[in-house]
Symmetry: C2
Subunit: 264 residues, 2 copies
């Protein structure tokens, strides 16, 4: 059975997240599987590297699917882009080894979270991609970031209703870049800041809970040192800050080892 | 009577243009005057530097209004932003001389028009701000741009249904910048190009007709030298290219002379 790896970008604004659900639509997976079915002539499930929440964007989500043998030679990128709405775009469709698995083979992900630090609301052009927090004490926030980096148990930063499972993750770094909006650079006088989170894996709502905590610290509502206590508690109820809204979050990249699996 | 100058940004996607119309809504002017009325306690007309078409965006449109005496000391920027939808933002509200006039005193404008030159459609994040043209012969297009610059009669590039009136304008320059999207910088591998048009004034749909012509030339459908013949004809019917779509266009700046009028 041939296997395809898709790399795709989407604006999450109008979607109830990646995953098909009984009670909410449209979903990115649902719309994508519909387009795939139209091209394949039969239903073909797609498996993503990870599920993005409702309203979360992606610059390069990854997924895999097994198209029917007689459709493997199609230009899948072009065919899917013709069938998909303009808020979902296929960036690449590459044949991979049948053993490639978008989720299991991912060795990490990079997320971006963008803030609008102005007193007045964000500029119209970028409003769907930022959280309006107004001014923050950034050195204070950086101090807390440093305490969160490394190999740690992030149970306290996981959505309370998430499935059980291991909660140890390596958060390589929290980097922040002024004037950046996900992949875009803004004029220097725009009060925009993007935080990049790279880890070997993320728990459900982990980036949004980390960002919510960091903004709480930046507002002076918690000391930076509270990061250690919250991590140690291992329980979402130990985290007093709210989850940051979905719209500021973008899945920037899924990291795979280069290797034989990447080509069929 | 005190006078205020507003500088505002908007995403034009859902608006039927700047100007209030009997047959189409919402308009930017309509929504803005509604917000002003709520704050002023009475109807106050706003006068823009120029009317943007349906779907056209602005990074810094300018307009003036005369608020009631007893409301002049308000923080108009903040009050209006609280009353306006998020796709319109007031960037500045400055008291000016009662003789200041947003349209008559404008000594020029800068428009940006953005193209997506990729074969596949534009990335979701920026799709509302580009025209998808695919690849173009840019040196050819540049040759035509050079023939359009200068003090010329632009009657052929004016909307055919526009009011009569003088059609002589000075187009200072058509500059293009790869990787730029209006005010934003994109990653270097994005096939984005923004054209900046600066002139002492623009006729109705002039930028969109110029851009439509340049793209026609860039596709090899017209020789660059046809610019001279089309200008000489002085008639929209001499222009064989279609008007470029509104969504790629942004009013970047309205130029005023610094002077006593700028402060009350």
């Amino acid at each position: 059975m041939p296997r395809l790896k898709l790399t795709l970008a989407y604006e999450g604004t109008r979607y109830a997240g990646w995953q098909i659900q009984a009670a909410a639509f449209p979903t990115v997976q649902g719309v994508l599987e519909e387009a795939v079915a139209r091209i394949a002539g039969c239903r073909v499930p797609v498996h993503a590297a990870g599920r993005t929440d409702a309203g979360v964007h992606a610059e390069a989500q990854a997924c895999h699917l097994d198209p029917p043998e007689n459709r493997i030679d199609l230009d899948w990128r072009q065919a899917l882009n013709a069938a998909l709405p303009p808020d979902i775009r296929i960036l690449a469709a590459d044949p991979v080894s049948p053993s490639f698995h978008a989720q299991r083979d991912a060795r990490g992900k990079v997320y971006a979270y963008s803030l609008w630090l102005g007193r007045q609301g964000p500029l119209p052009r970028i409003r769907a991609f930022v959280w309006h927090t107004a001014e923050l004490d950034l050195p204070r926030l950086d101090e807390a970031s440093r305490l969160l980096e490394g190999r740690r148990d992030f149970a306290s930063f996981r959505n309370a209703r998430a499935a059980r499972g291991p909660t140890l993750r390596t958060l390589q770094a929290i980097r922040r870049e002024p004037g950046r909006l996900g992949p875009l650079l803004c004029p220097t006088d725009w009060p925009v800041m993007t935080f990049f989170f790279e880890a070997d894996g993320f728990l459900k709502q982990m980036v949004r809970n980390l960002m919510g905590f960091l903004v709480f610290v930046g507002r002076g509502k918690l000391p930076p040192s509270s990061a250690a206590d919250i991590l140690a508690a291992g329980d979402r109820r130990a985290l007093p800050s709210p989850t940051a809204p979905a719209q500021g979050l973008t899945l920037m990249r899924v990291l795979y080892d280069p290797g034989p699996k990447e080509s069929a």
